[in-house]
Amino acid sequence: MIERKITFIRRIVQIFAFVLIFYGGWLLALKHIEIKWWVFEKGKPPVELNYDNPTHTQPLQTFLPIRSCRFAGTTGVFRGCMMFFLSDTLAWLPSLKNILPHLLLLLFLIFLFARFWCGWLCPIGFISEILYEIRKALGIARERLPKLVRSSFKVIGVTLLVSLLTTSLLIASPSVPWSIRKPLYVATCQICPSRIITPLITGFPLILNLTFKSASTFLLVTLFILLVIFSLIYAFSFIFKRSWCKICPGGVILSFFNKGALITKEKDIKKCTRCGICANCCPMETTEIYDEKDKRNVDHRECIQCYRCVDLCPEKDCLKVKFLGKEIFKS
């Protein structure tokens, strides 16, 4: 008998998504059309940055609202995450015709599931969960972020998103000097911890050296320091559950859609005894579901929709997950 059913199903989905996203190209033997300005194939020298070939013009290029990292190399199926797509688009400002299909697909996917992507499909989130599964097996206690840190993480996440997108817009303008534009190109990827984790996992060479000729050293050093900080935050998900996910700028975008997405969580406030189990088990350390005593709908911005609370809730039918009004899971 599986006691924690939803968590069990989620793990299976996560493993499946992880394998598909990071090794799918290899398993399914899909022929990819390479992103020309960044070739990872063995034996070939990296092709120089080719500004004539922005990503969005690549056919068969799908962007998911998760960290399906493009650094997964040839084995990856989806070659970039939503953040990469957005910053790239803003940097190149291509014609609407080119990006519209991608954008619409992306919006549709976000509207379907919102942060369900984070909890169930994101491979980077999954790896951070593996980290804390290891900790659990070692019997080391879980820690919670102090309140101040958590509330500042919220602000940092939004700031990060805004600044990443504005820098992308910034480099589109020709009035900005070249030395600044070059290092800031796809700054999203340069500071993303996934840039280190994904190559480590998929077996592709670590690409740490992003130095371009005639680039501003100051900017490069800043970006590198940010990368180190974020990677450390990611590594801390060993003891703080999903610590990176609390600032992930991609997650911030999704979080705005959490309320109003097709997948919703409902709470029967009458059945709730406020036993606090939902607040205890939340990987994002939120207490919104525990606090709610008025409304039926308990979707809130920070929820990654992992449904751990639904799984552990001791009151029958108190918490429910609905998709298009149909019940999927209930406590």
């Binding site: 659990k136 019997g139 080391i140 206690a141 879980r142 309140k147 406030i269 009458k270 059945k271 709730c272 005894t273 406020r274 036993c275 606090g276 189990i277 607040a279 205890n280 088990c281 207490t287 525990y290 606090d291 005593k293 751990r308 552990l312 001791p314």
Partner: protein, 422 residues
Amino acid sequence: MKDSFERRYKREPVIRKDERIIEDIQKVKTNLINLIKNNPNRPATMAYYDEIILGDKRENELKNLKNKVIGTFCYFVPEELIWGVGCIPVRLCSGFFETITPAEEVLPRDICPLIRSTFGCKVEGVGYFNLCSLIVLPTTCDGKKKLGEYISDYLPVLTLNLPNIKTYDMAKEMWNKEIKVLKSKLEEFSGTKITRKNLEYWIKLFQKRSKLFRSIYELRKTNPGIISHRDFLMMVQSSFYDDINRWIEKTQVLYDELVEKSKQKNSFNGEKLLITGAPIIFPNFKILNVIEDLGALVVVDELCSGTQRLWDYAEPDEWTMEGMLESIATRYLLPSTCPCFTTSYDRIDKLLTMVDEFKVDGVIYHDLRLCQLFDMERNLVTKILKDKNIPVLTIHTEYSQEDTEQIKTRIEAFLEMIRSKA
């Protein structure tokens, strides 16, 4: 655990041994059980609970066991930890009228009868209190807060500092620390350490117990006549004293029997009542006796000596030591509807849910005289219930049997009112 103060100023414990009181108690217990046994519809398995509640057998059993017995009070003492260190928890809250007078030699007359009665058990040397070698006492109401000082004349007492305001972050954090301290003190007391495996075993056993209890509770929703509330409370309250493994085993048998019974047609058509308020503890079943004599039935209760005791269970997020302790701390604080916390909202919500789920005809608010907390909450609770068109009757009473007739008249009138309404 003795304070330096207690070493400096020697205090002599008051001990009385009155054979008459012990006899009286025995008589009251057997009389009540015989009265309950009269019910022809009574499940056969109840005989086992009679034995535990009567106490003699279980007391002898505990005497012969090597394990130390730890006395607990109220809802808030984590029994998983006590079992975990190899001791046996016994909840001491008592319902004997006979032991009240002896306690008044020490305690003031103007505190609630439950506390006086419980303390009287120690003074008179009655029942399970005598077997305990340690008391764990949470600071719930004012009476219980100060009771520890008096009990410490007889026994070592561990007082748990219960927060007054039930909030997730502050209160739970504080209570979590308190539980950790309790764990280390219990380990020190018993000389055994709680291991991860061991605690996991007990938590899972307690989960099993709660789930079993919940399924019996669910059965009563559709077919309330299958078990009388006196029997139900005896079932719950035998878990105060009994070995948990055996209790689960026997309750499983009871559950199976009740399932069989519930397949028959619902035989009960009387008024369905809900009882809430101050704890009703065996043998203080005065109100229940009256209600059931009058043909009505209490179908559900919201008492800390009833449904509340077995309803909740600890559900750890992860089975690490810290995770389990946190889940225990949460379980023994947040779901409580004890009026010793500042707000009564959780209690009212729970009451309204119960009224809805059991389609209750009326609510009896049991108010023990001199329990200020339930008395303070009464107005708010009854007002909200009345606004929802649910008849409420407040019964203000003591442990003595004197006012039985008066209660009977009032409940009769109340039932009459419900009938005329319908």
